[in-house]
């Protein structure tokens, strides 16, 4: 008998055997299916978080390349002590480099408002509203407008508006520290309320023009960071800009966005950890397949003995059971993956709302997370779920290695 014909018969027998105990087969496939569905959703959620974090980092914090002082990360609250100097001459030079689309200066610091005997603290950000990648106009509440550059006008986050009980059109007198540790105050006219889609901005924030923030903090011709919007490879652009910025100060760095965030670095580690979790899911589901296949082997011991007596070699007998397992787990994994893709596709539209959970959390993740279904996700999940089940099937099928035909015919395996 030709080998291919035997293989074909094995697959036919496998399918037929599966239908002999339909409820048990469905249960086994279901276990694999649930695991595949969960893993598909897990992977798509992780990819969604990574995509969201990358988008947010570039939009809210760094653009594609960030120029800042090395000491800034260590400085914490004294951020104004570590600045990018000579920005008025540095910005045009950076903007002229290939791959650079825009250079936007920022001042990020803090301030306070004294109200009813208490000090209310807030984050202060001065930015160029036209070029800043944050594009705050997209988060403006109806009726609001962007502050005019250089004027004592500001936007406030919904968190600050709620905390102080104020709204657009009112004035707000704030106090902040200057670079040299002195204090300075300013009265702002509030031109609008914004709610950027990031947990950290639900906390109190005040946004004003870069020029006004510079005057308030007495920074002079300096910024706490330059955000470079680039259309090329961020790492290559950063490398190209590095000599220009270090010529101004050896303490300055130009880094691609993915090198600026510790949280982003942890996401790669998280990906590996979640990969192991997915493996565990599949392994747990495969215990059902092990159980099923073990029962199948024991139930059919006489049948196995008969097949062996008729001349079917042990390898083909083992392949028969592996084929059964492959069909069961394959069908289950396929169903699970398809369902997982459907659910992920729906969630990628509706999103998962973590607004309350993310309140005040500075992880760079949006309040609403949308799973991202990458092309490779269903393939990897299918291979993982089926592969783990097949590997686990080797345990019961291993009993057939030392098959004694006589014992098998007696029903003793």
């Amino acid at each position: 008998m030709k080998k291919s014909r035997v293989q074909k018969q094995i697959w036919t027998m496998a399918v037929r055997n599966i239908t002999r105990r339909p409820r048990r087969s469905v249960l086994s496939a279901l276990a694999i299916g649930v695991a595949a569905l969960t893993v598909t959703l897990l992977f798509s959620l992780i990819d969604g978080v990574k995509f969201d974090m990358a988008t947010n980092l570039q939009r809210y914090t760094t653009a594609q390349v960030l120029v800042e002082d090395r000491g800034l990360v260590r400085a914490g609250a004294q951020a104004l002590a570590y600045t990018v100097p000579e920005v008025s001459t540095l910005i045009p030079r950076l903007a002229a480099r290939p791959g650079v689309v825009a250079v936007s200066p920022r001042i990020t610091s803090g301030g306070s408002v004294f109200q009813d005997g208490d000090a209310v603290f807030f984050g202060l950000m001065g930015q160029d509203f036209a070029t800043d990648p944050m594009q705050l106009k997209e988060f403006l509440a109806p009726g609001g407008r962007l502050p005019v550059a250089g004027e004592r006008e500001a936007l406030i986050s919904s968190g600050l508006a709620q905390k102080l009980g104020i709204q657009a059109g009112q004035t707000l007198t704030v106090v902040t520290q200057t670079r040299r540790g002195s204090s300075n105050g300013m009265t702002f006219t509030l031109t609008g309320v914004v709610q950027p889609n990031l947990g950290v901005f639900q906390t109190p924030w005040l946004f004003t023009s870069f020029e006004t923030a510079g005057r308030l903090t007495k920074l002079g011709d300096a910024a706490t960071g330059l955000l470079i919007t680039a259309d090329g490879d961020p790492a290559a652009v950063a490398a190209d800009l590095t000599p220009l910025v270090t010529a101004v100060s050896p303490e300055l760095t130009a880094r691609p966005w993915f090198q600026t965030s510790t949280t982003w670095g942890l996401m790669d580690l998280a990906g590996i950890i979640y990969g192991f979790i997915a493996l565990i899911f599949c392994a747990l589901a495969s215990t059902v397949v092990i159980n099923t296949m073990l029962m199948v082997v024991l139930e059919r011991s006489r049948e196995i003995g008969m097949l062996a007596a008729l001349g079917m070699d042990q390898r083909d007998i083992r392949n028969l059971f592996l084929a059964e397992s492959a069909v069961l787990s394959g069908l289950g994994a396929l169903t699970g993956v398809v369902l997982g893709c459907v659910v992920a596709a729906v969630l990628s539209v509706t999103g998962l709302d973590y607004t309350e959970a993310m309140k005040g959390v500075n992880m760079g993740v949006s309040n609403i997370i949308r799973p991202q279904l990458l092309v490779q996700t269903p393939i990897i999940t299918f291979v993982l779920a089926t592969g783990v089940a097949l590997v686990f099937t080797l345990v019961p099928v291993g009993r057939l290695r030392k098959l004694a035909i006589v014992d098998a015919l007696r029903g003793e395996l």
Partner: protein
């Protein structure tokens, strides 16, 4: 000598030399002389604050007025703080800024903030000016400072909640403070103030140059210098009102 007065508000006329004699005095007597010497009916002064830190040297000029122990006004006339005004009414500090429409009442943790970037905080300016009412003194030694014999007074706060629970003050026999060390509750040195020069006016001796350093700030150093001081002059009461702070 008082910390508050020593620093920015030398204006109040502290460090006037009292005619009390050279005979040995008890800790209580020396403290009473300190309290007496540092207060004048009124004062007007002009001076500067020089701050040295990691960025370099920063100079801010000021003009100030005071009346009694409870009211004072400082107006910055040059430097980064030009246009800022600081009004003290008893325990309350108000600050007005050129670009703020209304004065800001400094309170809470902000009282620990620096005045004009110096090693002097708003907290140093506020509070009861009488040392005797807040501290229990004892003599812990004698030391010559700048060729002048000084008694070292250790002052411990009578009640909790005082900005500096422990002070050490080097006092001349006339009751003039020459040096102050301020300590935390666990007796960690926080700030040091030292008189570097004095001027005589209206029959009194007033510290005209003071060095102040904040042990927690590391390399920063503040120098207060008075170029002009007038004591017991007429100052209109309206000078110490919130209206005075509006631009």
């Amino acid at each position: 000598m008082r910390l508050r007065m020593l620093s920015l508000l030398v204006l109040i006329g502290s460090f006037a030399v009292s005619p009390l004699g050279a005979q040995a005095a008890s800790a209580e007597e020396l403290l009473a002389r300190l309290d007496h010497n540092e207060t004048s009916a009124s004062a007007h002064s002009v001076g500067s604050i020089t701050v040295e830190d990691r960025f370099g040297t920063k100079v801010s000029a000021f003009e100030s007025w005071s009346q009694g122990a409870d009211r004072s006004l400082v107006v910055f006339t040059a430097g980064e703080e030009k246009g800022q005004k600081i009004l003290r009414l008893k325990d309350t500090i108000y600050v007005s800024y050129p670009e703020a429409d209304k004065p800001v009442k400094i309170q809470g943790a902000a009282l620990k903030d620096s005045v004009a970037g110096s090693d002097f905080s708003y907290e140093d300016m506020a509070g009861d000016r009488s040392l005797a009412s807040r501290y229990s003194p004892r003599v812990i030694g004698q030391e010559s400072l700048g060729g002048e014999a000084c008694t070292i007074l250790e002052l411990r706060a009578k009640k909790p909640g005082v900005a500096y629970p422990l002070l050490k003050i080097w006092v001349t026999s006339g009751g003039d403070g020459r040096k102050v060390e301020k300590y935390s509750q666990n007796e960690r040195l926080l700030k040091t103030q030292e008189v570097l020069a004095v001027i005589k006016t209206a029959g009194r001796t007033v510290a005209s140059k003071l060095a102040l350093s904040d042990a927690l700030k590391g390399k920063s150093k503040t120098l207060f210098e008075l170029t002009k001081i007038e004591l017991d002059i007429a100052v209109p009461p309206s000078k110490f009102s919130l209206e005075e702070l509006t631009f």
